[in-house]
Amino acid sequence: MENNNVIKVAGLTKMFGDFTAVNAITFDVKKGEIFGFLGANGAGKTTAMKMLIGISTPTSGKATVAGFDVNTQPEQIKKTIGYMSQKFALYDDLTVRENITFFGGIYGLSREKIKSKAAILIDELGLENVANKLVGSLPLGWKQKLSFSVSLIHDPKIVFLDEPTGGVDPITRRQFWELIYKASHQGTTVFVTTHYMDEAEYCDRVSIMVNGKIEALDTPKKLKERFKVDNMNDVFLKLARG
């Protein structure tokens, strides 16, 4: 069981001067789990995630991601994880195929591997007709799905999603979640940070951060039972309002 945890965090802390952005957080994430990392803007989500993906050094505490220490092996972490953010996803001025090739190249995939990956990916997303079109010309929902698939191109053990599905229509959004379920089914751990509470309902487990601390961590169902409410939004409201 212990070995099944792909992310292990113990007392992770980040200070900026006197300000404690992340205050001794502790949690584990299992292999293949969809883990929701929730919190309001400024609660410390982004800071915590930056430490986990190896681009920010913790002030104190320990964390391992896919078996690598965030303090000493950030480069190995970067190789074994995928990352997708709504802010930066793909290059609008490259075609679908060029984007896939480029990101495949970044992760050191061989030429043949990229070619076969691209073919599978384009087929799965039904992008055959637009494979040679600029990504900028695609609808937002398509871009997000493509961006997610590209973040999985090197078969990472864990994929980090930073507020992935804001603003798309409900159907596209569900198609996106179906992709996430698929990745999780295939053994990829999915770590989602978001402040959209309805997105939390889709996760296996969620943690809710308030002012740098994890105030709750459980399955959405149990959290709703505990707070006697019927959606995650109200769970959050109860937590944040004390």
Partner: protein, 300 residues
């Protein structure tokens, strides 16, 4: 009628942003435009606030035509654009004063209108707007839009990117504005906010799918919806999609929302089918439709 929109169409080059949009908003009503990014909400707001001219159709705000009487409209409406972020380098106080002066009024003149909101941000009145939290910025922006006591308030996605607590407070403020002779047209991509409006229009790809009260919209959903869950979400969705009688299969939080084509649908039969797919812990139970279900059904 406070807002009358009839047959508005607007195209940008090849893209049809709006196609034959018509609706009316009564005085003192909170009317919600619900739809995803790119549905045409912002274009519609810009046409109604006289910033754009429609290719076709007509609209009037508080009795003024959006094209010929645009000057009168500009005196009588309050507007919070989608990406509106105030002047980051001015303080709360300076922002308010600026908007008061350009509308030829003062903070004191309509103080009772914004009082409820203003007292929440007053402790920070000497702080720069850029240093405020998302929720505080939203409140300040609302104050600025209300400062001249507009007849109609246009709020384009006021709660996008704002945390749940601030969203809730924001809607509470809007509710309080009702009964003060202000008509509110608000847009949002969050389906759960629709229930807070008096009436809503569901909009996608430049077309209105439905206009009604939130309750009526949900009632219009004719099919029986079932909540399904099982030990493996991915296999469950795939199996349901294979099931030949399915009408719709949508992941919905911890469940899958399922509807069947047949009027005499038997859940037990489905359970047997799912068990044959090696799924366990299967739960099938009736549930009620949400606005999101309706939206997906209508846009299918």
């Amino acid at each position: 009628m406070s807002i009358i929109v009839s047959n508005i169409s607007k195209s940008y080059k090849k893209v049809k942003a709006l196609q034959n949009i018509s609706f009316n908003v009564k005085s003192d009503e909170i009317f919600g435009l619900i739809g995803p990014d790119g549905a045409g909400k912002t274009t519609l707001f810009r046409i109604l606030t006289t910033l754009l001219i429609a290719n076709k159709g007509a609209a009037s705000i508080a009795g003024f035509d959006v094209i010929t009487d645009y000057k009168s409209i500009r005196k009588n409406v309050g507007y919070m654009p989608g990406k509106f972020s105030l002047y980051q380098d001015l303080t709360v106080q300076e922002n308010l004063q600026f908007f008061a002066t350009i509308f030829g009024t003062t903070l004191e003149e309509n103080y009772d209108l914004i009082k409820d909101i203003y007292i929440q941000i007053e402790p920070f009145k000497n702080r720069r707007a850029g240093k405020l939290s998302g929720g505080m910025k939203q409140k300040l922006a609302l104050c600025c839009a209300l400062i001249h006591k507009p007849k109609v308030l246009f709020l384009d996605e006021p709660t996008t990117g704002v945390d749940p607590v601030s969203r809730k407070e924001f809607w509470e403020m809007l509710k309080r504005l009702q009964g003060k002779n202000i008509t509110i047209l608000v847009s949002t991509p969050y389906m759960d906010e629709a229930a807070l409006c008096d009436r809503i229009a569901l909009i996608q790809d430049g077309q209105i799918l439905e206009i009604a009260t939130p309750e009526a919209i949900v009632k219009k959903y004719s099919k029986a919806i079932y909540n399904l869950s099982a030990n493996n979400m991915f296999e469950l969705i795939n199996s349901l999609k294979e099931y030949k009688h399915n009408h719709s299969v949508y992941p919905f939080g911890e469940f899958v929302h399922y509807t069947d084509c047949r009027p005499d649908f038997n859940p037990t039969e489905l359970k047997v089918f799912l068990e044959s797919k090696n799924l366990t812990n299967i739960i099938i139970e009736r549930t009620t439709a949400t606005i999101e279900d309706t939206f997906m059904e209508l846009s299918k």
